[in-house]
Symmetry: C2
Subunit: 489 residues, 2 copies
């Protein structure tokens, strides 16, 4: 059954690396071929220091042609390639393995903002452009590039594309795939595919763009992209409301969408336990949090209407929701400061959580209709098995994405937690699958989840993915053992 | 250069078809294996009678398992398969070739509305469900399934997916790919891939869904899909305005988007010549059309706000636009009847055009910033070469999609037109490429444009597409010679 799974061709490396390094130097200049240990170090471990690896060299090409030249050399010598952007990934997708046979190709010098076409509402940028710089380039022309996530000050567009990044505004604007109209890619053959189209309708053959996006550098290297921009919203309004349970938050989501439609740009659920973690730092959270069993919802609207109009609509909506006991209490931000304080509660949770010691994180998504039952069932099962753990839940509920994290409050539990990691993961992800969800909503697979991917996906789906990998990267030099494991030799 | 292009395996067919038909009958029942000429006829030509073919049999399975059983039989005997839905395609993608060696697999019996999940805002349907029935099932629960196109009364969801259908509301809701969260597909191996997920974030490996969508049945058969639904808009408002030229319409588009954001659901441009075709039937068009050089724009807003509010916003916007001479005149529909009359103008053009005789149609898209220059340049070049032709332009300008059609008004020209077809296509598509556009925006490739696809796409892009085709359909039994030509034997 499935497609025949032949062994990928064995990697061959010359005895001595010296001639290879000379070829790299000829292609991109000595300054940009880093082969000394101290130069390579920052590229050999991920941002969270969870994954460590080694590499023959770190290569820093300046443009697409140089990337193509490097891939051709690597292909000739069967050298594995690990593409890297801002190195802020959470699954080790940009960290090489320990063998030291791979090269890291760092794309950060391809950081040009190439064009901003106001009429077409598109921006074309190099893969190495930092997300924040792209946002800023758009704002300078009164446009919004809506992708927004914690690492935006250092992550790159290439990494955002490779992992199909999500973040807080997916509800309105979609994820990175939805925001992308065209790509430039260097294939595993070292050829340049110019697919930098700025078209909203183009049905000419297979959607290669959608295939490269989210493939985590395993099919080729994305070197540039044409992305959508939007008019800047005139009004932004943030609201923090208290609800009794997850089901109420979902019912509220339906009501807000019915009234506000596409103006709803964020709908974040925060569990009582998560709020407690940060309540000492936020008066607002204290103010709302009287009953320990309550949950908070952070809502953000972005509108072309006047602030008065949006505020009035929202106040009416909240009054109706309070009348029907869906919402217990709520605060509409009356200044940018208060809005920032509300987002502060949400954004401080990951940091506060870390201070408790070990954290077992799950980046999951579920059909919105399954969220309440999933949380209830999974909380109960975890507590049954390990009564001493704490469960911290928060996330982008508007698109079904939960950060479902387990912590141990006291030191002993925190230490114990590590031993329980695989059992806890198993229990949580089993429940995710029973509720038709995904065990990787926005962080991708990398090396962290590659074994689990193989176990969780059907053999039919894995066979389709392997057929694509083998078709586009027959020598398996593109980020091997990320997303898809190499066949055993 | 490129990937090695080996010859797809040669098709082999038993000398006699009888044992093969017996196998099909065993799999799905005699009643659903149509092998008599009179039974097959409706499936062997397309809706527009432009393409004619032949087939060994037409097979009408009732569910996914039966589709899988049929593909396994076809695979074993190397019988080419042509999947077919409502048979309303415009490029012959669902019409078999003349050899009579293929079977048509008609999906229309897989027409169940399987589930409507209100909380998750998704509807799950069989590939054979008629688009109109899906729209109606959503409306029954106060939801909107926004895909809307001329053939909606007979086209099927499977065909919409296979061709990544577009239509008039892409501006707000996206095309079929954007509207789809999950798919069920039977692979070219006859295996069932259950990817019917209702998730808005799921980064677990390659996006197979996006690859199958738009692949026109050449990689597998889509048997079911989970699609997005939206709250029904409270207010719909239609406006018809007159502008002097294409550039003004683009400037107006920017202004409407700035004020109305996602509430803008349609922005259709209609050239003066196109309006003339239908003006005798529409008082409104006559009323607005005094100067023959003017163009019309049909705008539709869908909003959760009250009609009064939307009307006021729009009137203010139009007054500003008239003050700045961007808009010459305009009518805001004050009844559903008037709104229908406005859409009537737009929707009657294709029919009116046909009555003029031969029509050479182009379904093209361009970056919005290139539209004006493209139309000016291409009109001028065409008129230079063939002064006796007429150019009819209309389309979904909000997403850069034009229907750019050439007609000959008198009989002689109409006859002559046929002889000039390839030269005219060449000229128009050359201009499309010079302006970074696409020569197939929403109709796909099928057999009509397969040769041109090969000529227009870069060898790198074609090699990537061929590698995927060979990886997923190594025997080339799935809709051969559609989208991608088989290698010469």
């Amino acid at each position: 059954m499935g497609y025949p799974l032949q062994t990928f061709e064995e990697l061959k490396l010359d005895e001595s690396a010296t001639p290879l390094l000379a070829e790299f130097t000829d292609a991109i200049g000595e300054e940009y071929v880093l082969s000394k240990d101290e130069d390579k170090v920052p590229y050999l471990t991920d941002w969270g220091k969870r994954f460590k690896g080694n590499a023959l060299a770190v290569l820093r090409p300046k443009n697409t042609s140089e990337v193509a030249a490097l891939i051709k050399i690597c292909k000739h010598h069967r050298v594995p390639i690990v593409p890297q952007g801002g190195n802020t990934g959470l699954c080790g997708g940009a960290t090489p393995d320990a063998s030291g046979r791979a090269v890291v190709i760092c794309l950060r010098r391809l950081n040009q903002i190439k064009a901003l076409d106001l009429e077409n509402a598109t921006i074309t940028v190099g893969a190495g452009a930092v997300l924040k710089h792209v946002q800023e380039a758009a704002v300078l022309k009164n446009r919004l590039f809506p992708l927004s996530l914690a690492a935006e000050g250092s992550c790159t567009i290439g990494g955002n594309l490779a992992t199909n990044a999500g973040g807080v505004q997916v509800l309105r604007y979609g994820n990175m795939r939805d925001l992308t109209l065209g790509l430039e890619v260097v294939t595993a053959n070292g050829e340049i595919w110019n697919g930098l189209r700025g078209l909203r309708k183009d049905n000419t053959g297979y959607s290669l763009k959608d295939l490269f996006i989210g493939s985590e550098g395993t099919l080729g290297i994305i070197t540039a992209a044409t992305l959508k921009v939007f008019p800047l919203p005139r009004t932004k309004l943030t609201v923090l409301v208290k609800v009794t349970d997850v089901a109420s938050s979902i019912a509220l989501l339906q009501q807000v969408q019915k009234v506000c439609s596409a103006d709803l740009t964020a709908f974040e659920l925060i569990s009582n336990r998560a709020i407690e973690l940060v309540s000492d730092r936020f008066v607002l959270a204290q103010q709302l949090l009287q009953d320990q069993s309550d949950w908070l919802v952070l809502i953000e609207l972005s509108s072309m209407d006047s602030e008065d109009k949006v505020r009035l609509d929202l106040q009416n909506l909240l009054m109706d929701a309070m009348d029907s006991k869906l919402v217990l209490d709520g605060i509409v931000a009356d200044s940018i400061q208060q809005s920032k304080a509300m987002w502060g509660i949400r954004e401080t949770i990951p940091e506060a959580q870390l201070q408790l010691g070990n954290v077992i994180k799950h980046d999951i998504s579920l059909p919105i209709s399954e969220l309440s039952d999933f949380i209830q069932t999974t909380n109960a099962r975890l507590k049954e098995s390990w009564p001493d753990i704490e469960i911290i839940v928060f996330g982008h509920v508007g698109d079904g994405n939960l950060h479902y994290n387990i912590v141990g409050i006291n030191l002993e539990v925190s230490t114990l937690l590590e031993n329980r990691r695989s059992q806890i993961n198993q229990l949580v992800h089993d429940q995710v699958y029973l509720h038709n969800g995904s065990f990787s909503a926005e962080h991708g697979i990398g090396q962290a989840k590659v074994t689990e991917l193989t176990e969780r996906k059907s053999s039919v789906e894995m066979a389709l993915m392997r057929a694509i990998k083998k078709g586009l990267d027959p020598l398996c030099i593109m980020n091997p053992n990320k997303v898809i494991l190499r066949d055993p030799d």
